[in-house]
Each structure stands twice: as C-alpha cells, then as structure tokens.
C-alpha cells in the first residue's frame, strides 16, 4: 500500500512537471548550425552563425533575389553606374528608420563604410571583399606581405576622414568611387560587412541598431538569441513575431530536440539520412536545400610530389566522385568537376575533365615516374562528414596506385599548418561569400590571396596567363560573356593544371516542421524569417 501511494505521488509529480511545447502561429524556434555568435557587429562578424542573425536584423543598400540571386534594391531604391564603371551613385530609400527610432540617411551609410574601412573596427573578413576596390582602401589598409613572405606589421591608424571613395552627396544620395571597374561590386554589397548601422553606434554588445525586419531583443550567450519583429519595417511587418535561436552545440542533440517538438527546423548530417528515411513521419519532413558551396582540395604546389602536374591530374581522376556522393553522402550533393556550383550561371554540366579509370591512372602514374604508386597525406580538421569523404577517397584512389593517409587534427592546428604551407593536400569547404565565380577564383586561386589556399601558385607554368584570365573575367560585366570567361578559367586551372581539385557540391538536408509550410531557404542556403508564414 505504501509503495502504491509512492508510485501515485511520483506519477502526479511527473504529470505536473511534464511539458507540452507551446506552438503558435507567430513564433518560430531554430538552432544555430555550428555553435553561436561571438559578436553581432556587422563590421566584425566572420562566422556563419553570426551571419545567420544579421541577415534577419540588418540590411545593406543592395539585397539579392532569393531565387535568382541577382542584386535587388534594398536600402537603396536605385543606383546609377558611370559609363567608365568607376562611380556608383546610390539613391536611398525615404522614410526608413532604425530600430532606435533615428532616421536612415546618407550619414549612416558613410559612417558604416568608414567603420568597415577602419582596421580597428572593420575586423570582418568581408571588409576587404566589399571595399577592396573602393578608392581610399589602400590608405586605410596598406598592403601587407603574404603569409610566409616577410614580417607582417600592425596596421597604421585609419585616416580620420574615413574612406575617401565613399561620399555623402546629399541626405538621400551616396556616391562610391572605385579604383578599377568591378561589376561584382553590387553583389559584394549584400555581404554582412556592408549592412548599414545607425550613425555613431559603437556598442554592439546587445545587438546592432539596424533597419531590418527583426531586432535582437535578448542575447544570452551559451543559451539563446531572441529576435522580435520590427513592425515598422519599411517593406511591411513580418508575419512571424518572435524567433528564438537556440545554442545547441551538438548536432545530434538538435535532432533530438526537433523530434521532441522543440525546434521548427534542423540540419541533418548524411550519416542520419537512412534512419530518417525509414521513419514514417520524419521522412515526410525531410527536404534538400541547395547552397553555394564547393568542397575541394588545397594543394601545396611547392611539394616535390604535388608540383608534378601529372600526379595532380592522376589524383584528380582517381577520386570516384559518383560513388562517393551516392554512398558516403547518401545523395546529399553532386559530384564536382569544376569550381562553380550548379546554382550559378557559370556552371557547366558538360565540363568533366577527369575519368575514373584505375588502370589508366596507374599507367599515367608510371609514365610520370612513379611505377610503384604515390603516397600522399591529406590534412583535415575534425569535421565528421569531411573525414568520411576523405576516407572514401583514399579507398577509391587505392586501385589507381595512391596510398593516402588522412591526418585529422583540431581546426586551430590545421589553420596554422595551412597558413605556413605545412601540408601536401588539405580539404576545404568553400562556401561562396557572394554568388559569383570571382569569389573562388580571385580569392582562392589566383592573385595575392593565393598563398592562403594554394602554396606556390607562381610555380605554375601558366600562372601569368591564369592571372590575366582572372582579371579579364572579373572586369567583364555580369552576363553570359563573363560566365564564358570564368568557364575558361575553370578549364585551365582545374582541367589543364589540376591546380585545384574539386570533389563535390554539397546540399544540405533539413527536417522542417510542416507548420512552416514550404522551404524557407533562399538559393544561397540562407533562412529569411521575414518570408515565413506559419500555419497554426
């Protein structure tokens, strides 16, 4: 009897404590993909979780179409480009206010770009992408020697009048002068670094003061960030009024939380796909989201083995991309032979320079002076999906004469060794900052940034040709002509030189609660809460 009473009390207690997740049609709960934001200052942000918040809180002069990714008006309603392509005049949107009630005008734009140009405040890597070709940038940031080529110095103080290329014409007009034509300038204005903040704002510890559809109403590190709808948003009040962004560092725990009803959407790793497909309820909530990402190898061209173009070509061919995508990735992606993902207009589905034929590759290696095969070490940081793919590459390359060691170290160690060229091959997940081939070509392969991705690029026989091709493509206006030039670059850098070895274009699998109604991701793989309408 005593025991029975105890059990009854226990049951009553659990009933009192038990939870029912409150869901209504105006609040949405999501989790941060990787970890959590460290800063919400647009001039300082650098990681995906930070971008995730800012994309919903702030906006730039220019935005992009969620489907085509083409530049569209945002805080600028229109712009004129001078005939020489050097001067951009932006006409600002009227009647827009910041979340603190102050008026949006040209001084805020000037303030934002001055902060971004200043090396002390503009610590986001997007600063160089946005302002790199704007007049006055070189005064703000004198060029530094590349990694491993001389001692870098601490930057000189920024000019007190800010970046000279950005000028206030009148309260509703801003002009920007470039040092060379750069048709992708409009695209780079969609980056978080170019998000406009209120004039004079210096304290970002509670979130930025911006003009976007949401404001940060709570920021508790290690726990959550809560966004509240900005009902006076110029394009109309958002339908979802509250968004809770939770910090759940372990991805498997995010899935558990989703299945318990605590999250409205969650990213799923390839290793979990088959389990979800076997579940009657969950399989219906599984969606594929494309994003702009290429997984490829960085190569040390100074390495005695990798400097041999025949070895590079053989290795590029020895990766059985189709099998890896089908098995290891469970179909979450597409084989990559070129650098540009399928959702970009420069993507060429017919570009397949490498054929997986182990016997022929083995022969090619022997002809190159390696009759006994080649031993390579691939370095990687500890990303589970990447490591699975690399181990699979090691297996598919074995019959072709490659003995591959996969050396997985912590991200901090990997970064240091990468910067000092202390690796033969390293895996990179290249997420495009803006939807243009220029972003991977100029940033990753050609030009001064080269040492970061490939070491010893200048040792390539056609290095100057590639650089000329890159410069020509980057200066050509957006459109088919430009795409054709980027395709030529791809054919030469990847097809002929194998100076970059693409492996696959990942897609993201997500579980989405049916009440979200559709897939709230744009073609870049970003979520815009503003576009979501929940059903109760």
């Amino acid at each position: 009897m005593k025991q029975l009473r105890f059990i009854v009390i226990l049951l009553a207690l659990t009933a009192v404590f038990s939870t029912a997740f409150a869901q209504d049609a105006t609040s949405l709960t999501v989790a941060f993909d990787q970890s959590q934001p460290n800063t919400l200052d647009p001039a300082a942000v650098g990681i995906a979780d930070e971008f995730f918040v800012l994309r919903n809180v702030c906006e730039g002069l220019v935005s992009y179409d969620p489907k085509t990714l083409a530049p569209t008006p945002a805080l600028a309603t229109s712009w004129d480009i001078s005939s020489d392509g050097l001067t951009y005049t932006f006409h600002l949107r009227d009647g827009v206010t910041f979340s603190d009630g102050s008026k949006f005008d040209a001084t805020a734009v000037k303030y934002t770009f001055d902060r971004l140009a200043n090396p002390t405040t503009g610590t986001s890597y997007t600063a160089g992408l946005v302002l790199g070709s704007v007049a006055g940038w070189s005064d703000a940031r004198p060029s530094a020697p590349a990694v491993g080529q001389g001692t870098p110095t601490v930057p000189a103080p920024a000019p007190s009048d800010g970046i000279s290329g950005v000028k206030v014409v009148d309260p509703s007009t801003v002009s920007v002068t470039l040092t060379a034509p750069k048709p992708s300038f409009l695209e780079t204005l969609t980056l978080p670094g170019a998000y406009i903040v209120a004039n004079g704002e210096t304290d970002f510890s509670k979130g930025p003061t911006c003009t976007g559809p949401y404001t940060v109403s709570e920021w508790t590190p290690d726990q959550q960030i809560v966004l509240k709808a900005n009902d006076s948003y110029w394009a109309g009040a958002p339908s979802v009024k509250t968004v809770t962004m939770k910090v759940i560092p372990e991805q498997s725990q995010q899935e558990v939380e989703y299945e318990a009803g605590g999250l409205d959407l969650v990213t799923v790793p390839p290793s979990d796909i088959s389990r979800i497909q076997g579940d009657a309820t969950l399989s219906k909530q599984l969606q594929q989201v494309s994003n702009l990402t290429t997984v490829l190898f960085r190569i040390n061209l100074k390495d005695p083995v990798m400097s041999n173009v025949k070895v590079r070509q053989a290795f590029a061919a020895a990766i059985d991309r189709e099998t890896i995508v089908k098995t290891v990735l469970q179909g979450q992606g597409e084989p990559a032979y070129g650098l540009y993902p399928p959702s970009m207009s420069a993507y060429d589905p017919n570009f397949k320079p490498f054929v997986y034929d182990p016997a022929a590759i083995k022969q090619a290696l022997a002809d190159a002076g390696y009759p006994d095969g080649v031993t390579l070490t691939i370095r990687t940081d500890q990303v589970e999906a990447t490591n699975d793919v690399l181990n699979a590459i090691a297996q598919t390359a074995a019959p072709a004469g490659f003995t591959i060691k996969v050396d997985s170290t912590e991200a901090s160690v990997y970064t240091q060794d990468r910067n000092s060229c202390n690796m033969q091959l390293g895996s990179i997940i290249w997420g495009f900052d803006y939807p243009d081939p220029e972003n991977v070509a100029t940033q990753a392969l050609a030009g001064t940034s080269l040492s970061r991705i490939n070491c010893g690029y200048d040792t390539l026989a056609d290095a100057s040709d590639l650089q000329a091709l890159n410069d020509k493509a980057a200066a050509t206006p957006l459109g088919p002509d430009r795409d054709k030039l980027w395709q030529q670059f791809d054919q030469q850098a990847v097809g002929t030189d194998a100076a970059a070895i693409p492996v696959y274009f990942p897609t993201t699998s997500v579980l989405i609660n049916p009440r979200v109604g559709g897939i709230p991701y744009d073609a870049q793989g970003n979520i815009q809460f503003y576009l979501i309408k929940l059903s109760s």
Partner: protein, 307 residues
C-alpha cells in the same frame, strides 16, 4: 585546529600557483595559434598580425606570464580571446548553472545512495541487497553519454515527460541531474554498504545488541555514525569531481555550464578562458579536500590535528 586550518590555507597558495603556471605553459606548448584560428579561412597576414598584437600574444612568453600573473593577483583574469568579454563575467554566467546541476545531482546521489547502502548492508544477501548492488554496478559501468541519450529517448521522445535539452531550473533539470548523479550514487551506495558491513562485524555492535538495544538504534547510533568517515571522504572528492565532471552531461543536454566552456576554450585556444577555468576547478578541488580534512575531527573525536 585553528593553526592546522591556517596551515592548510597557506598551502593552497603554492598549489594554485603551480597549477596556474602549468596550465599557462601547457596551452602555449600546444600547437595551434589563437590569432590564426580567430582569423579563420579568409584572412591575411596583416589581420593576423593585428590580432596577435591585440591579444598580446606577440610578446615573449615570459612577459605574457608575468602580465597574466600580475593581473590575476589583482583579481583580473583577462578577457576571452573569442568573445572579448571578461573571463570572470563569462565564468560567472556559467558557474551557477553548473552548481545547480551538481548540487541537485549530489542531493539525488546522497538521498538515494546512502539509504540504499544501509538497506543493502543491514539486509545483507537479501533481495534488497542484490537489487541495490545491481543498481550500483549499473551506475558505475554505464557511460554517461549513453545513459543521457537513453533518458532523452525514453522520457523526452517516447513519454514526452521532460524536455530533452536546454537550461531551466524546473523540469529541465530532471534528466541532466539524474544522468549526472548516477556515477556518484553508485559510489556512495557501495561505500556506505562496505563501510557499514565492516562496522557491523565489530565487537561493540555485538555488545550493543546484547545490551538489548533495538536493531534500528544499533544501526543508526552505533554503526552508521562510525561508518560515516569513508562516506564523507568519497562524497567530498566526488562533489569536487561533479563540478568538472558534469561536462558530458552539459554537452548532451545543452546545459550552458563551465564544463562545456572549458572544452570550447581548449579547442579555440582561448588561453585566458582555459587559465581562468582551470584555476576555478583547482580552487574547488583543493578547497573541498581541505574542508574534508578539517571536518574529520568533528566527525570522529579520535582524530586530532597537532600543529
């Protein structure tokens, strides 16, 4: 006694200083540069140089050590490399969460472990004893992460009784606290049982029975009070262990505590955070040990500290 306590407190200083020095050196011996990690995939030499200067890691190690030490003595543990906020503030945010979890787990462990141990010892070889020993065996041998996942699946996903993750000093606490308490519960139960069994075989217990005392009075007054010393020792060290040992539980249940902070800090090479957190753990550990030693004479009058 007072002199002994004072002595022990003074001994804390070189211990803490030694641990601090060791951690400082270990972090700098580890490969991986915080500035390059912070700069990430995209940044150039100049940015990295600026970061190194702003983090003061461009200075000689000796200068850094003296600087950190002097700051520490002034009660300043520096700023986190990652968030740029004061280390003390960040620990201050997370420590109460870990403390609540650890104290709840400890209450569960003591509240269930001690009675189970007593039952097992006084009804030796009975069904109760077998059940208790089985619980203890399971408690020490089940890995925490497995237990955590099972609790989540059963009580969170299937029965939908408790939330599966997140912070909350309500029903959110139930599953993580149970999970964190299991190891300690098993340890306390086994220690109570064996220590009590040992006492129950002593001559004076037989004497007590022959005086005509009830079993209850013998067990509690004569046996348990004498068996309490080893239990307190185990309890003390495992409380200190709990604070750092809730790490896995914190990760599984997304509980924002200091254990999770430490792992993040190490992988991100956040030197000031690692130093601050290790200092905290060292303090808790040494203080706990000191308190146990000081408590001995109070629990057992036969123990005396001279000088």
């Amino acid at each position: 006694m007072l002199r002994y306590t004072l002595n022990r407190v003074l001994q804390l200083i070189p211990t803490i200083l030694g641990i601090y020095t060791l951690v400082f050196l270990l972090m700098r011996v580890l490969p991986g540069d915080p500035a390059q990690f912070l700069a990430g995939a995209h940044d150039d030499a100049q940015t990295i140089a600026a970061l190194r200067a702003s983090l003061h890691i461009d200075q000689p190690v000796w200068t850094q050590y003296v600087g950190f030490l002097s700051d520490m003595l002034h009660g300043n543990l520096g700023n986190s490399f990652i968030t740029r906020r004061p280390v003390l503030d960040m620990i201050g945010l997370a420590l109460p969460n870990t403390a609540v979890l650890a104290i709840t787990a400890m209450l569960i462990a003591v509240g269930i472990g001690v009675p189970l141990g007593i039952i097992a010892a006084t009804r030796r070889n009975s069904l109760w004893d077998t059940i208790s020993r089985l619980i203890a065996l399971i408690g020490v041998s089940i890995p925490v992460f497995w237990l955590g996942l099972q609790l989540q699946i059963l009580f969170g996903l299937q029965l939908k009784l408790f939330p599966v993750s997140g912070l909350g000093f309500d029903n959110h606490l139930v599953l993580p606290a149970i999970c964190a308490s299991m190891g300690m519960l098993a340890l306390i139960m086994r220690m109570t049982r064996s220590s009590l069994l040992d006492i129950l075989n002593q001559d004076y217990i037989r004497t007590a029975y022959s005086k005509g005392l009830t079993a209850r009075r013998v067990n509690v007054r004569h046996a348990l009070s004498n068996a309490v010393l080893p239990i307190v020792t185990v309890w003390g060290t495992s409380v200190a262990g709990l604070l750092s040992g809730t790490l896995l539980v914190e990760v599984i249940f997304s509980w924002p505590g200091v254990g999770r902070q430490l792992v993040d800090a190490i992988t991100q090479r956040d030197y000031p955070m690692v130093q601050g957190l290790v200092l905290l753990f060292a303090l808790i550990y040494t203080l706990m040990n000191m308190l146990i030693d000081i408590a001995y004479p109070l629990l057992d009058p036969r123990i005396r500290y001279n000088g």
